[in-house]
C-alpha cells in the first residue's frame, strides 16, 4: 500500500454527516456528497442528513433511488430520506448515533426504525451508522477513483461522551462500511483542531498558559461539553482535554419543535387548527424564523407562512408570526435560562414502567446541564469555543457567555473570552482532517487520553445469604486519561474457568479522575455499560472447566478504542474480552 495521499475527516453526526479532506499542507476542504435529492435525481450537498428511509416496495418507481454505486437501492439516505421520512415516520431511521450509545437495547439487533410496523425491514444501529459511512465512502471514491478511502488516513469523530462500548461499535460500523481502522477523535477536540488550523501559529497569542477552553457543542440533536486546558510543557504550550460532559439528547431540533408548538397554540386560540403536514411545514418555517430573530436583535417579529398541502397555495396559506417574545420565552428561557451556578438539571422521578426509547433528558435547560458540568470540573473556563449549528446565532452565543460570566463573577473570575472564527457546521470534519495530518506530520496535539475511567464488577467474596444477591465491587481496570498506545495491568489476579462463557458487569465514569488501576469503588457511583464477556478455550493439555490464574490488561489502541484482555499468569496466553451489546432491556 502506498502512503496515503489524503487525510480524510468524517463527522458522523446525529442529524448530519460531513466529510473534509486535505492533502499535504493545504487547508482541509469540505467534500461534496452526492445524494438522492428527489426520486431519480442526484444532487451534491455539503451535508449528508443522517437519515435512512426504507420505502415500501411500490412507493417509488424501480430505480428511482439508484445511485451510481448502489444501482439496486431499496433504501435511501440523506436529503431525500429526511424529506420523505418526515411524512412517513414509521419507515425512517433517525438518530442512529444516539442508539449506538444506548446501552439498554441490543445495538447489533435489527431494532430500527424503532417500533416500526411488522412489514418494515429493520436494521441495527450499527448497520445504520455503517450505511451512512458507506455512502460517504462511495461518494469519496466516486470523486477520487484513484485514492480509495480504505487506503487514506481516515479520522472519524465521536462524541466525547461516547464510552468504550459505543466507540467499539462505531469502529465496527466503519469496518462494515469498508473504512479500515479509522482513527477516532472526540468531536469537541476536532472543533478545537479546526480553530487551531484556522489560527495557525497565532493561536499562541490568543491562549496563554492556564487558559481553560470550554467547548460548547450544540448540534441538531445533541449537546456536548468539553474542557481543554493550556499547559506549559518545558517552555512549549500544550493542550490537554481534562473533562467531558454527558451525552445530552438536546439540540436545535428540539428548539424548532418547541417554537412550532408555541405558534400552533397561538393559532389554535384564533381558531385555526393545523394538520400534521402543516405542523411540519411550520417547524421548518420556525427554524428559518428562529435563525433570523437570533441573528438580528433589532427584529421584533418574523412573519411565518404555513402552506397547505394542496395546490391551493395562495388561498390556503396560513399566516402566523414568530415574535421576539416567543424566542425569548422558548429558546432563551426554555433551553438557555440564566440559571445560577449551583443549578442542576431537574430529574423527574420515573414511573414504574418507562418506555424503552432514547434516553431524552427530562430537563431541556442546556444551561443547567452546563452548570452541572462546570460545577464538577476541576478547572473554571476562561474562554469559550462554540460548535454546532445552533451556536451560529449571536443571541445563543451571548446567552451562554453571559450565564458563564455571571458564574465566574460569583467566584471573582473574569468573564470568559470567545474564540471566534470557526464554521460551526463544518468545523468537526475539517478539524478531524487536520488532526489526521498532525498525526503524520507533527504539530500541536491535544492530549488527554481516554475520557472515561472503566471498571469491572467483581462479586465480593462473602458468605451467601439466601434472598440477598451477592454484592458487587467495581475495580478500576483503566483509569481516566490513558494515552493512546498505553497499557495497564490490574495487580490482583483472577481465577477464570476455561471452556465456559464468563461475563462481567462493566462500568464507566467520566468524572473519577483520582482512581488508579485496581482502585475499588462502589458501582452505584458509576454508569453501567454493556457487560464484558469471553469464552476462554481450554489450551491443549488442560481440562475444560479448569481454573487458571489470569491478569487483566487494559490497552488503549492507537486509534482510540479500549481493549481488554486476560493474560494467563504462567504461559502468557492472551484472550481478548469483548463487549456484550445485546442490551439490558431496561432504560
Amino acid at each position: 500500500m502506498d502512503a496515503p495521499t489524503f487525510t480524510v475527516g468524517i463527522d458522523l453526526g446525529t442529524t448530519n454527516c460531513s466529510m473534509a479532506a486535505c492533502a499535504d499542507r493545504d487547508p482541509a476542504q469540505s467534500v461534496a456528497i452526492p445524494q438522492i435529492v428527489a426520486p431519480s435525481e442526484i444532487g451534491e450537498e455539503r451535508l449528508l442528513p443522517s437519515f435512512l428511509f426504507v420505502p415500501a416496495e411500490a412507493q417509488f418507481p424501480a430505480g428511482a433511488l439508484a445511485l451510481p454505486w448502489y444501482p439496486h437501492a431499496r433504501d435511501v439516505v440523506g436529503t431525500f430520506a429526511r424529506a420523505q421520512g418526515a411524512s412517513t415516520p414509521t419507515r425512517l431511521v433517525s438518530s442512529a448515533k444516539s442508539w449506538l450509545s444506548h446501552a439498554a437495547v441490543d445495538r447489533r439487533g435489527a431494532i430500527l426504525p424503532w417500533q416500526a410496523p411488522e412489514d418494515v425491514p429493520r436494521c441495527s444501529p450499527v448497520e445504520a451508522a455503517a450505511r451512512y459511512l458507506g455512502h460517504l465512502r462511495a461518494a469519496w471514491e466516486r470523486a477520487h477513483a484513484d485514492a480509495p478511502l480504505a487506503e487514506q488516513d481516515v479520522v472519524l469523530t465521536v462524541p466525547a461522551s461516547f464510552d468504550a462500548v459505543a466507540r467499539e461499535l462505531t469502529m465496527e460500523a466503519a469496518e462494515l462500511a469498508g473504512i479500515e481502522a479509522p482513527t477516532l477523535l472526540e468531536e469537541p477536540q476536532a472543533a478545537m483542531y479546526d480553530w487551531l488550523a484556522q489560527r495557525g501559529e497565532r493561536w499562541r497569542d490568543e491562549l496563554v498558559v492556564g487558559d481553560v477552553v470550554l467547548v460548547v457543542d450544540i448540534g441538531g440533536g445533541t449537546t456536548d461539553f468539553s474542557l481543554i486546558v493550556v499547559r506549559d510543557d518545558e517552555g512549549c504550550l500544550t493542550l490537554e482535554r481534562v473533562a467531558v460532559g454527558d451525552h445530552i439528547l438536546l439540540g436545535g431540533d428540539n428548539m424548532d419543535l418547541a417554537l412550532a408548538y408555541a405558534v400552533r397554540a397561538e393559532l389554535a386560540e384564533r381558531g385555526t387548527e393545523l394538520d400534521d403536514w402543516q405542523v411540519r411545514a411550520l417547524t421548518h418555517a420556525a427554524r428559518t424564523g428562529k435563525e433570523a430573530l437570533l441573528a438580528d436583535e433589532s427584529l421584533a417579529a418574523v412573519p411565518l407562512a404555513i402552506p397547505t398541502r394542496s395546490s391551493r397555495l395562495v388561498g390556503g396559506t396560513i399566516r402566523a408570526s414568530l415574535t421576539r417574545a416567543m424566542i425569548d420565552a422558548v429558546v432563551l428561557e426554555g433551553f438557555l435560562p440564566a440559571v445560577e451556578a449551583d443549578a442542576r438539571p431537574q430529574v423527574v422521578r420515573r414511573t414504574g414502567l418507562t418506555a424503552l426509547g432514547l434516553p431524552y433528558p427530562s430537563d431541556a435547560a442546556i444551561t443547567r446541564h452546563l452548570a452541572a458540568f462546570v460545577g464538577r470540573a476541576a478547572a473554571l473556563p476562561t474562554a469559550i469555543l462554540y460548535n454546532g449549528g445552533v451556536t451560529r446565532a449571536a443571541s445563543v452565543r451571548e446567552r451562554v457567555r453571559g450565564v458563564l460570566a455571571r458564574w465566574l463573577e460569583g467566584v471573582g473570575k473574569p468573564a470568559p473570552r470567545v474564540l471566534a472564527g470557526s464554521d460551526p457546521e463544518l468545523a468537526v470534519c475539517r478539524g478531524a482532517a487536520h488532526y489526521g495530518r498532525i498525526r503524520r506530520q507533527g504539530g500541536v496535539k491535544i492530549r488527554g487520553g481516554t475520557a472515561h475511567a472503566h471498571y469491572l464488577g467483581i462479586q465480593r467474596a462473602e458468605l451467601a445469604v439466601p434472598g440477598v444477591p451477592p454484592r458487587l465491587d467495581a475495580v478500576c481496570v483503566a483509569p481516566l486519561g490513558m494515552e493512546e498506545g498505553s497499557e495497564v495491568t490490574l495487580p490482583q489476579p483472577f481465577g477464570l474457568v476455561l471452556g465456559e462463557e464468563v461475563s462481567f458487569p462493566f462500568f464507566a465514569s467520566a468524572t473519577r479522575e483520582g482512581d488508579r488501576v485496581g482502585a475499588v469503588v462502589k458501582p452505584q457511583e458509576l454508569q453501567e455499560l454493556a457487560p464484558l464477556e469471553a469464552t476462554l478455550p481450554a489450551p491443549e493439555g488442560t481440562q475444560p472447566g479448569a481454573v487458571v490464574q489470569v491478569h487483566l490488561h487494559a490497552r488503549v489502541t492507537e486509534v482510540g478504542t479500549l481493549e481488554l484482555s486476560a493474560v494467563e499468569h504462567t504461559t502468557g496466553a492472551r484472550w481478548k474480552l469483548s463487549f456484550d451489546v445485546r442490551g439490558t432491556g431496561q432504560s
Binding site: 452526492p34 435529492v37 428527489a38 426520486p39 431519480s40 435525481e41 442526484i42 444532487g43 451534491e44 426504507v54 416496495e57 418507481p61 424501480a62 430505480g63 428511482a64 439508484a66 445511485l67 451510481p68 454505486w69 448502489y70 444501482p71 439496486h72 437501492a73 431499496r74 433504501d75 425491514p121 436494521c123 448497520e127 455503517a130 450505511r131 458507506g134 455512502h135 465512502r137 462511495a138 471514491e141 466516486r142 477513483a145 462494515l176 462500511a177 469498508g178 403536514w277 418555517a285 428559518t288 412573519p303 407562512a305 402552506p307 398541502r309 395546490s311 391551493r312 397555495l313 395562495v314 388561498g315 396559506t317 396560513i318 399566516r319
Partner: protein, 269 residues
C-alpha cells in the same frame, strides 16, 4: 453499451447531460442492506467478512462510468465553449462514428464546417461581420431537450411551490394572502436558485452609476436604450446591472426520471 462520444460543443457526454441509463439487471457485487429478503447479500457478506457497500469491482466500474458520463452541467456559460484535448479513447470513437454522422446528418455536418472558424471574440467587435452572425443564428440550434428546463421547474415547485403559485388565480385574494404565499415561494425558490445557479451581475458597478461603453462593447451583454445616436463610445447610467449565470449545478438524473412530472400527486394513506 459503449460510451457515447462527448459532445464536441461542450464536452458533455450524451446529448447534454442525460446520465448513464445503465442496465437495471442485478450485478454481482451489489449489496442491498434491506432486502425484504434478508437472504441478503449483506448478511452473507457479513458472514464472509466482506460486507462492503457497493465496494470493489462494481464501484470501480461505477467510478469509471461516472467519469465518462459525468454530467455536471458545469458548463462555463460565460466564456463560451473552451475545448480541451480529448482522451485517446474518445478520439478513436469520434474517428469511427463521425464519418457516418457527417454523411447522414446535414445539420451536424454544417456545424463541423464552422469548427475551425475562430470563436467569436468580444473584442474588437466591428470585425465581426453580420454575415457570420446570421449563419450562427441559423445553425446553433441543437434539438431542444426540455429536460433541464422542466427539471428546474420541478425543483422550484418542490422547494418553493412555484408552479402552484403561478397557476393559481390570484385576482380574488387580498395582497396579504398573496404576500403570505409569496413568502413560501420566495424562501424556497431563492434557496433552490442559490444551489442550482451561480449568479453574478453582468456589470459590477452600482445601479445608477455613470458608465462608459467603449468601442466594441458586447451588445449581447449590455443593452443600450434611450437616445442612442452615433457610434460608441457611449456614456450613460447603469439602469440594471444584469444577471449572468456563471455556473449551473442541476442534480443529475438517473434511469426512470421523467422530467414531465413536475410534482407527483400525493395521496395520504
Amino acid at each position: 453499451m459503449a460510451p457515447q462520444p462527448p459532445c464536441p460543443w461542450c464536452r458533455a457526454t450524451d446529448q447534454h447531460g442525460r446520465p448513464n441509463r445503465g442496465s437495471t439487471a442485478r450485478r454481482p457485487g451489489d449489496v442491498d442492506l434491506f432486502p425484504g429478503t434478508r437472504s441478503d447479500a449483506f448478511g452473507e457478506a457479513k458472514r464472509h467478512g466482506t460486507a462492503q457497500y457497493g465496494r470493489g469491482r462494481n464501484l470501480r466500474q461505477g467510478g469509471r462510468l461516472s467519469a465518462a458520463f459525468s454530467v455536471r452541467y458545469q458548463i462555463a456559460l460565460t466564456e463560451g465553449h473552451d475545448v480541451e484535448s480529448l482522451g485517446l479513447g474518445a478520439r478513436l470513437w469520434l474517428a469511427l462514428t463521425l464519418p457516418w454522422r457527417i454523411i447522414f446528418d446535414g445539420l451536424f455536418a454544417a456545424k463541423l464546417t464552422s469548427i475551425d472558424a475562430p470563436a467569436p471574440t468580444p473584442l474588437p467587435a466591428p470585425r465581426r461581420e453580420p454575415k457570420v452572425e446570421v449563419r450562427e443564428a441559423e445553425i446553433v440550434r441543437p434539438a431542444v431537450d426540455p429536460g433541464p428546463a422542466l427539471q428546474l421547474l420541478a425543483i422550484f415547485q418542490r422547494e418553493g411551490r412555484f408552479v402552484d403559485f403561478l397557476r393559481e388565480d390570484v385576482s380574488s385574494f387580498s395582497d396579504a394572502d398573496i404576500g403570505a404565499a409569496a413568502r413560501v415561494v420566495h424562501e424556497g425558490c431563492s434557496r433552490a436558485l442559490g444551489k442550482v445557479v451561480e449568479l453574478a451581475p453582468v456589470r459590477s458597478e452600482g445601479e445608477g452609476a455613470a458608465i462608459e461603453l467603449p468601442v466594441g462593447f458586447d451588445p449581447a451583454r449590455v443593452r443600450v436604450t434611450g437616445k442612442v445616436v452615433g457610434e460608441p463610445p457611449f456614456r450613460g447610467k447603469l439602469a440594471h446591472h444584469g444577471w449572468l449565470a456563471t455556473a449551473v449545478h442541476l442534480p443529475e438524473t438517473t434511469a426512470g426520471h421523467d422530467p414531465k412530472i413536475l410534482a407527483p400527486a400525493e395521496v395520504e394513506l
